[in-house]
């Protein structure tokens, strides 16, 4: 198990390193001068020299890359070009906000989608099955911002059931008030992921229902309900865990658009501002952190998968 874990960890680190390399060289791939692109036309030679000095652009590429990697590992993400402060100081609070939104969305997505998939599987071929599978996937292909804008229009402006910003005005607001404000954006994120997870959960349940061990369980006198709880759920959840982990990049991507609509100061908003302001250090750090978080969650899911699946557990132990 430990060896399997170390191997997966090594592969994850390789992935993050590839991302870091691609991100770093993408910023410098264009012929010409990054400093000139940042400052735009009509800048003096002194300004260019100063910025090159500040960014370290006057040194060889390999040295720059090494410097960036080592200082990032030390936790120094560099200076923002737009705001005169540390990238970390701006980025980490924003990531904290996004994490809250993503966490609430996740807490809603997993049980609702899995339940949807199980209900569809137990009613296979009936109308409710079609509604969940076809409806779920149709909802999933509609972009988050379309859902978000629709929700603001219907539930925020017309019905006035929900607040239209993701943040309570009162800074001393309680936990439930925060959750209440984050509910609409979370549902927008939920709708885009529900279909995929429900479909996999459904397939897992159907496969388990048709299996020999299920027949054995029923034949030896177990009630259907008990057999479903004891045998089907456990086996059906395995592929579902893998799929949920695979959806995390989409969840993170969806944050950007949803945060814009609900005026939420999360990481997506910061990233978008950084794009507009050509804030390269901020972008580099933001993308690197995003991919590390995603890779980390995928590693976690792999581990969970291996621990829950006796076949992998024993294969790994050998």
């Amino acid at each position: 198990m430990l060896r399997y874990f170390l191997k997966r960890l090594g592969l994850s680190l390789v992935t993050v390193l590839i991302v870091a390399t691609v991100v770093f060289f993408m910023m410098r791939i264009l012929p010409g001068d990054a400093a000139r692109r940042i400052l735009g036309k009509g800048t003096t030679e002194e300004q260019l020299v100063a910025l090159r000095e500040q960014l370290g652009l006057n040194r060889p590429l390999v040295v720059q890359f090494w410097d960036w990697i080592t200082s990032t590992l030390r936790g120094d993400l560099g200076q923002s070009l737009q705001y005169s402060s540390d990238v970390g100081e701006l980025l980490f609070p924003a990531i904290g906000y996004s994490a809250r939104l993503a966490a609430l969305a996740f807490v809603l997505i997993v049980p609702i989608s899995v339940t949807g998939g199980v209900v569809a599987a137990l009613n296979r071929g009936k109308a409710i099955d079609r509604v969940i599978t076809v409806g779920g996937l149709s909802a999933a292909v509609i972009p988050e911002f379309v859902w978000a804008v629709t929700f603001v229009l219907v539930f925020g402006v017309t019905l006035e059931w929900f607040p239209v910003t993701a943040f309570p005005d009162d800074p001393a607001a309680g936990f439930l008030d925060y959750v209440w404000h984050l509910l609409l954006p979370s549902i927008a994120l939920l709708l885009v992921l529900f279909g995929y997870i429900a479909r996999i959960a459904r397939a897992g349940v159907i496969e388990a229902l048709e299996s020999d061990y299920m027949r054995t369980a029923v034949l030896k006198g177990m009630t259907r309900r008990a057999a479903i709880w004891r045998h089907v759920m456990r086996n059906a959840m395995l592929p579902t865990i893998a799929v949920i982990a695979g959806q995390i990049p989409y969840l993170v991507g969806g944050l950007v658009a949803v945060e814009v609509v609900f005026n939420y100061p999360g990481f997506g908003t910061v990233l978008l501002t950084a794009v507009g302001g050509r804030d390269y250090p901020m972008l580099q750090a933001g993308v690197l952190i995003t991919s590390s978080v995603i890779v980390g969650f995928q590693l976690l899911a792999d581990m969970l998968f291996a621990m829950l699946n006796p076949r992998i557990r024993t294969a790994v132990a050998e």
Binding site: I18, V146, P249, V256, L271, V275, Y280, L283
Partner: protein
């Protein structure tokens, strides 16, 4: 996935399977609905300016922010432009961009997948690493990064980025299909006939893995629509002011707070119908090919 009969390369059997699949698709109501909606938007994209009654760029400051009426079917936006005309004409850019991105991704992805699945070895390993790296960053974030570093949003850049991101994903599907095919007798027979490698890959294996490629193409097309719309909404996918549904939502959605819902609802609804139609088609194809 292609089944044992097709794998023998028997033309008549392959045609019989195709007929059966077509018949199944014609019976699938969801698939037909998707096809009709997509056809509608394709016609709108092709004929756009010739079928709308009012110039979509014409700003009439006497008629700003009017609700839907007999004269302005979907109302007018804050600049007095006809929302219906802008939605019809706006179908062109998103369709052209989504199809181009998906075609680029499919061509590159199929080539990579065929090579990785057939030769395996270091090329396969490198491709799978690349895939892991690409799937560790959301498409939207990759696109934002590229737009920032390559200097400004443009249609071409957005199309290339989406195509580039799709290629390894499509390659994985093709690779998996090729791995199964390469073990079969007809490939061994072709080798015994001393056929060249390009012949084996493109003339023998490729025709037998078209089913997963078609399904993957349709699924990716749906994602491309999703990505193009989102990037346009974020102001990062296309030049500002483009007649594009995503940009139209971005320009007008703040107006919903003052009661003007139509200039947002029309392009948002258009995105939803297009995305859902492609999804219904993909779903129908998947069902037909898997049975």
């Amino acid at each position: 996935m292609t089944g044992g009969v097709a794998a023998t390369g028997d033309g008549a059997a392959r045609r019989a399977i195709r007929r059966e699949r077509m018949a199944q698709l014609r019976r699938n109501k969801a698939f037909l609905a998707g096809a009709v909606i997509l056809a509608f938007w394709l016609v709108a994209a092709a004929l756009g300016r010739w079928i709308v009654p009012i110039d979509p760029e014409f700003t009439d400051l006497e008629f700003t922010s009017l609700p839907p009426s007999g004269r302005f079917w979907f109302g007018t936006d804050p600049l007095g432009r006809d929302v219906f005309a802008r939605v019809i004409v706006g179908s062109r850019q998103i369709l052209v961009m989504s199809f181009s991105a998906t075609i680029i991704g499919t061509v590159v992805g199929v080539a990579l997948g065929l090579l990785a699945g057939y030769f395996k070895g270091w090329f396969d390993i490198a491709l799978m690493r690349l895939l892991e790296a690409v799937s560790a960053i959301p498409v939207i974030v990759i696109a934002l990064l590229a737009i920032a570093s390559l200097g400004g949003a443009s249609v071409t850049l957005t199309v290339l980025i989406i195509g580039f991101v799709f290629a390894p994903i499509i390659a994985r599907t093709v690779r998996a299909a090729v791995l199964g095919e390469a073990e079969l007798d007809y490939v061994a027979a072709a080798r015994l006939r001393t056929e060249g490698t390009p012949h084996i890959i493109f003339r023998e294996i490729l025709p037998n893995v078209t089913a997963p490629i078609i399904v993957e193409f349709t699924v990716r097309l749906g994602y491309a629509i999703f990505a193009v719309a989102t990037l346009s909404f974020l102001g990062a996918g296309v030049e500002p002011g483009s007649p594009n549904w995503g940009s139209q939502v971005a320009e007008n959605w703040q107006m919903i707070f003052s009661g003007e819902w139509w200039s947002t609802a029309a392009p948002a609804g258009a995105i939803a119908t297009l995305a859902v139609s492609v999804n219904l088609i993909a779903d129908g194809l998947l069902e037909a090919f898997e049975s």
